[in-house]
Symmetry: C2
Subunit: 437 residues, 2 copies
């Protein structure tokens, strides 16, 4: 257990030396770094865990720093803070548990572990009187985790609407600005290193779902699980959706949304039409943004780089400084989110969502089609706001029909869409998007 006096040096063990680990190591090793001054005591990097000692690296580390044996960090009583930037659940989660149990403070960038096991790990931190900090798990250089824990703590959070996956936002920005299709934009993102070879986690909303789980657990002081989040990816979007969105005055963004209503919270990640004037509509490329609507602060928007070596290092080293400042002080306070005195806020099923919808249909260009579709919607109590008929093609007798609705219930809309898809005149329900006002 760390009972270091105020002026004693703090030793850091770093687990992982990928892109972010390299940034963290470089920052902690920099000469004349102000970090020790800011933290109020010397902060030293002592050991770095890597998988392969022989690999060549972007950074020159003093000899003896590298190790392939996690015990050199986990069993060293002189290491006070463990920084985990390996990613993935295994073996990272096991290392985090061991570090906390050994009385070490832990700083992690691991959104997957924090989303799946945050409450368990935070409880372990409390038991051991240490801090578990995870600013880097959401939003890179945007200080949203700390703000929800601390600066905005006086608020009841009515909603969080966020763009927290830069890969997805890059692809959507390209599709909107260049009119490219999804596959081309994805390949481009892969070429630039913004998307991985297997892009599933990003484009299907899984990554954003992890991050939303973490934010919601902090905002509502209750443990949520990744399975509580409704996920819908962006691969179904087509160039014409962006054209119609522009015509209707909207941008298409993949938002991660949590909204509180009558003691229940709805958690969802899906593409959304956002009015052009809204700040979130203006967030382009790999940028991230988080809009928090609090009972007192109103809407506060945070905008910045959500990923990458330096922004993530900003978050990790900020947490190292916080852990160093707190040593000898009050660790593991109630502000570590979730677990202690949980609220009784429940998860609202997706079918209960009440919002406006955009529906794009490929229909036979024959009289009476619109009447049948309107009837199916009317039967579900869904009222039409606007209809655009587009791309009528006499040779195939087909037309594209775009309908926007007034606020309606998700479950009713899904049922009506099934009816509509079964109509003989409807060739395809091409896409459905929720409209956020």
């Amino acid at each position: 257990m760390t009972s270091t006096a105020t002026s004693t040096a703090i030793n850091v063990g770093l687990m992982g030396l990928g892109v972010v680990g390299t940034g963290v190591a470089a920052t902690l090793l920099r000469e004349n770094s102000p970090i020790s001054d800011v933290a109020g005591r010397p902060v030293n990097l002592k050991k770095v865990l890597v998988r392969d000692l022989s690999r060549s690296r972007d950074i020159d580390l003093p000899s003896g720093f590298l190790t392939a044996d996690p015990e050199d960090i986990l069993s060293d009583p002189d290491i006070h803070i463990v920084v985990e930037v390996m990613g993935g659940t295994d073996p990272a989660k096991g290392y985090l548990k061991r570090a906390l149990s050994a009385g070490k403070h832990v700083v992690t960038a691991n959104k997957e572990v924090m989303a799946k096991s945050g409450p368990e790990l935070l409880a372990l931190a409390r038991e051991n009187g240490v801090n578990l900090l995870f600013e880097a798990s959401v939003g890179g250089g945007i200080p949203i985790v700390g703000c929800l824990m601390n600066e905005l703590a006086a608020n009841e959070i009515r909603s969080i609407r966020s763009i927290i996956n830069g890969t997805t936002n890059y692809i959507l920005t390209r599709m909107a600005n260049q009119g490219t299709n999804f596959q081309v934009a994805l390949s481009e993102a892969q070429g630039l290193g913004y998307a991985e070879a297997d892009p599933t986690n990003d484009i299907e909303g899984i990554d954003a779902g992890y991050k939303l789980t973490i934010l919601a657990s902090l905002a509502y002081r209750r443990r949520f699980k990744p399975e509580d989040v409704y996920l819908e990816g962006i691969s179904k979007l087509e160039p014409q959706d962006f054209r119609y969105a522009r015509e209707l005055g909207y941008a298409i963004k993949s938002l991660a949304i949590s909204s509180l209503d009558n003691g229940a919270v709805q958690l969802r990640v899906h593409p959304v039409m956002v009015p052009n004037e809204h700040m979130l509509a203006k967030v382009d490329g790999v940028y991230n943004a988080v809009e928090v609507d609090g009972s007192l602060c109103g809407q506060v928007l945070f905008h910045g780089m959500g990923a990458g070596r330096e922004p993530t290092t900003s978050a990790v080293v900020g947490d190292v400084i916080e852990a160093a400042r707190k040593m000898g002080g009050h660790p593991a306070g109630p502000h570590q989110g979730a677990a202690q005195n949980e609220t009784s806020i429940s998860v609202r099923p997706m079918g209960n969502l009440q919002t406006r919808y955009y529906i794009r249909l490929d229909v036979a260009d024959r009289p009476g089609v619109l009447a049948q579709i309107a009837k199916a919607l009317g039967d579900g109590q869904i009222s039409i706001a606007e209809v655009l008929q587009k791309d009528t093609q006499p040779e195939t007798e087909s037309a594209e029909l775009v309908i926007t609705t007034h606020p309606a219930k998700e479950a009713s809309v899904q049922m009506a869409l099934e009816v509509i898809a079964g109509l003989p005149e409807v060739r395809r329900v091409s896409n459905t998007l929720r409209i956020e006002e």
Copy 2:
């Protein structure tokens, strides 16, 4: 001195019951408020200092809460946290000093006192082992003070560019959107309660200068004084400046800017032309925004309500929660900004500024005028980027000439403008604005 155990209740003494004080009292008194749960111990409002006991108020306080005697708060050993929302330097500063000396934690919304005497008060807090927190002094509901102290602490702050006076931004937004002149927009702001009867503090940049002094002291860990900030108000702006700005692709905003260059920081508040694409150009009405450019995090933008009862209450009560959490812990750490281990960053004089300029001249519509003006600029090593000749009026033989320059030195531009103002063909140097890229 407060040596309260973890579960003991925390008592709050509130000084001031104006707009913000009423919000703070209402929030602390609310039934089923989650604040005690979030703070980890009961937080109770115990006394409220007002000037006039007999005045009718927007809030029902339990009997015995109100007092007109500051001793009822300052000399009560059972009050652990003093919240000051009176404003002004006198008697507020004296009360803050007495509260800190008595070992009470202090939360203040007082930008004037913090800008003028922050380092002195923070030193006093440290001596007495208590916290002095001031999130509400800048940016209302935007958590910029805490973020500079904590979440962004790993960064060297390269620059802060901010819209931190809502009154000014409201007036500029009206002038830009409605083409109204300054006086009309100001009267409107006064009618809506956004501007005071004497608007000097807002429109001359004094208020923004206080806030910038506070932010810069945190960002650069050095004590700055309000006098270190160059101030220029918005009253010289005319409708045609907004027309030309639009034509050139810019918005006009009053920015509070601190920028670090070669170990020296420049602090300034003045109207600026901002490219339309920039996020700061899109901040309208009474909204505030702060863009921090950090060595690691890159550009992070915070956007939200910078004033008003609820947003400021969010900041004040957030600080009360933080103080309550820290009690028994490590108070007055190095993260309280300024004073301890000051950096040696100096203030760069305004004449050293290097930026682009917009110059609007009222000139005689005669041949050779532009050549003379161009010569005056050229003599000062100032190179012209663009020239617009406008509003030529044959009857008065006058014309409006708008010139933008490439980056040039402020001192040279001011000297050249003196020469230009002395030319017989120049009737008036109507306005000069700096252009921010």
